[in-house]
Symmetry: C2
Subunit: 228 residues, 2 copies
């Protein structure tokens, strides 16, 4: 059985923390919208049959203008997002019909994911049903309890990233549930449905761009990797 | 009672993860050793009466040459480090005599600490006996257990930074103990001696420079803050 590979990129941010007037996924990174770079990270990989971009309804015309202005011709399907990330992913998943498909769900503002990590997540999800990337913190870690904070073993702490990859049958079935506040990512939805989550080592640079400093960091890193 | 303020900067790294032949604290950051920037972060603050730099014996001559070559004249006391970070801090603490002193212990490869965070740590340590900076992770967090991984509330997770500031009497007394593997930072030593740890909000950019990417990030951030 050969699995097709579909990517759902979720871009719902409004960018208030960036101090900018435009949604953060549209902010320029090396003079192109962040989202261009994020999509590009997947385009160069083999076997990807479709890229689905979930955008708030209000941002679709701006996105299409940006694509035209920048001659961004990479083929992708646009889906209208919902009020929450959970609803946006649901809307994206509704476009996935084939049951022998692997679905990667990725944050629109994580342009620095490495090809190795994407490939590894797809491969392991085919084997285990799901695979999500994580890195260990470099810092000492403490945990807040009612009476104060206690140290916890940082070797056992995992900071979770995306893309989170699932067999389409598993993720679609898992999303047939009302939203819960414990759903902090897609893996937590799948876990709630009874599946055990499989972890893959992520790449440390794969940050979620949230602050102007993150944007600077992404810029310097992309410049280094693509000097021309 | 007025507390004097002493800073102990611990620089014991060998830099193997940086892929460079020289200890990472000496690597150039905007063409000056990282350690210059780290010391500088404290120099501009008021009330600091002494800066103690703990260095491995084998690195002292290189350091002195770097200072001369770069005309780095900031006054500081050099102390020879030990085989472990614990021993190095002990050696630094041996130089702190006065009991009405606040001691800040800081990693040599954290040049991006903000003045506001340093000042806050000193102020709160004067009040609570100790104060350490921390930030919350931006990512979903999971924890490894024997049977797999479980999600934990990221709002309760703290990534610990330095400077960790203590009343001298407390930190000196706490260090009168044999080393334990649970001592991952100075706060854990003080906690082992029976004190409750007080947390202060850190600045996110205050990373421990560990990889070439971290160095790039530090460079772009320092450049932005000091454009001339």
């Amino acid at each position: 059985m050969t699995f097709k590979r579909i990517v759902i990129i979720v871009a719902g941010g409004s960018g208030t923390r960036m101090g900018a007037g435009i949604p953060k996924q549209f902010l320029p990174l090396l003079s192109k919208p962040i989202l261009f770079h994020t999509i590009q990270a997947f385009l160069d990989l083999p076997l990807i049959s479709e890229i689905i971009l979930v955008l708030p309804a209000s941002q679709i015309s701006v996105w299409l203008e940006l694509c035209e202005k920048n001659q961004f011709t990479a083929k992708h399907t646009i889906v209208i997002g919902g009020d929450t990330r959970f609803q946006s992913v649901s809307n994206g998943l509704a476009k996935v019909i084939d049951s022998t498909t692997l679905v990667a769900i990725h944050d629109g503002v994580r342009p620095l994911v490495s090809k190795e990590v994407i490939e590894k997540c797809f491969q392991e999800a085919e084997k285990y049903g799901n695979a999500i990337p994580a890195v260990k913190p470099l810092e000492t870690v403490r945990f807040c309890e009612k009476t104060g904070t206690i140290p916890i073993d940082r070797e056992k702490v995992l900071l979770i990233q995306t893309p989170q990859v699932f067999k389409s049958s598993i993720i679609k079935q898992s999303y047939q549930t009302p939203w819960l506040s414990s759903f902090t990512d897609d893996a937590s939805v799948v876990e709630h449905a009874g599946y055990q989550i499989h972890i893959v080592e992520g790449n440390r640079e794969n940050i979620k761009i949230t602050t102007p400093q993150d944007l600077l960091f992404a810029e310097v890193l992309l410049k280094k990797n693509n000097p021309f």
